[in-house]
Amino acid sequence: MRRSLLFIPGNRPNMIQNGEVLPADALIFDLEDSVVAQDKDAARDLVAQALSSLDFGSRERLVRINGMDTGLAGADLDAMVGSGVDTILLPKVMGAGTVEEAASLLEHAERAHDRQVGSTSIVALLETALGIERAFEVAGASPRVTGLALGGEDLSADLGCSRTREGWEIFYSRSRLVLAAKAHGLDALDTPFIDVHDLEGCRLDTLFAKQLGFTGKLCISPFHLEVIHQAFMPGKEEIDYARALILAMKESEALGQGALSFRGRMIDPPVLRQAQRMLELAGLAGLPLDEEADHDQG
């Protein structure tokens, strides 16, 4: 589950070790923008050692490597695969070629470090106009790609517009990314809200992203985690509906019935997946999932 994905600067030991206790769904150790040029090697060593020895529990461990055009990405990928990273956050993805190049290097690194080929996934970070235009091809570029993420700050700079609290300047890009991600069955991950102290702004921004179809949000501050989790929490009506739908589905399966009609509507796999996701989210919030629920099948 990727509701919140928290960036942690890759050359800050105290912040990295705090990652063991922060309640984010996923941690992104950053080798790119938060690390100055002369310390790229130091951050790579530090994150590699941390991944090898610290216990981050069930949190997904991502690393944002340096861009494929920097001359640093190969060493980043090799070190991170050797340390057991779960997922690479691939920056400045401009098209399928960027993903294919990274996937090729990952395969080489996995073979070199005796890891299962294909075990390292990729989240593609789209942060340029060209990248957004090619979102659909990026999403389908490799089976390693499990999500598309939006980098709103760099995108705005590329578009030549200013970021605002409301975010209408990236509205089309957000929608474009969501469509591409969902068309390929991937996670759609929204850009971070960058005002650390504006929790209400973060709440509204996250609710808007959820309404557009995003499944999670990148995050630059631990202060935003609770707000993001609350925003992605389904409402009581949604949970009740999902619970009743799943129950009806189980009864239908037990009776050997095929297509399921629920409350006058034919239910297909995407609707079921959505209901299952609702219950997963509710479960993460500690809400009860096993209550009997009224339903009218047929």
Binding site: R12, P13, N14, L46
Partner: protein, 91 residues
């Protein structure tokens, strides 16, 4: 690995380790740490293990510890060693 030039890695921030390595005819290791009494031996053991792995037999290693975890000690020393050597890697 031969220590060819002076190199540094890390910072003096809390939780970090600042390492300085310089060429020297013999191996000298000095450690400053607010937790030297409790963890000094463990820190030095980690450092010596890593120096053995890199085949470092001489050099002046100065460690300013700010409460670094074992993984941070290993990372900072690794970076400093790579920066100090002419080979650019273990040898």
């Amino acid at each position: 690995m031969k220590v060819d030039k002076k190199a540094r890695a890390g910072t003096l921030e809390s939780g970090d380790l600042f390492v300085t390595i310089e060429p020297s005819e013999k191996l000298e290791i000095s450690l400053e740490s607010p937790v030297k009494d409790q963890y000094g031996d463990a820190i030095l053991q980690t450092v010596r293990e890593l120096l053995d792995q890199w085949g470092v037999e001489s050099g002046r290693i100065t460690l300013a510890d700010q409460g670094a975890l074992d993984c941070t000690i290993r990372a900072r020393l690794t970076t400093a060693l790579r920066r100090a050597g002419s080979q650019g890697d273990k040898s």
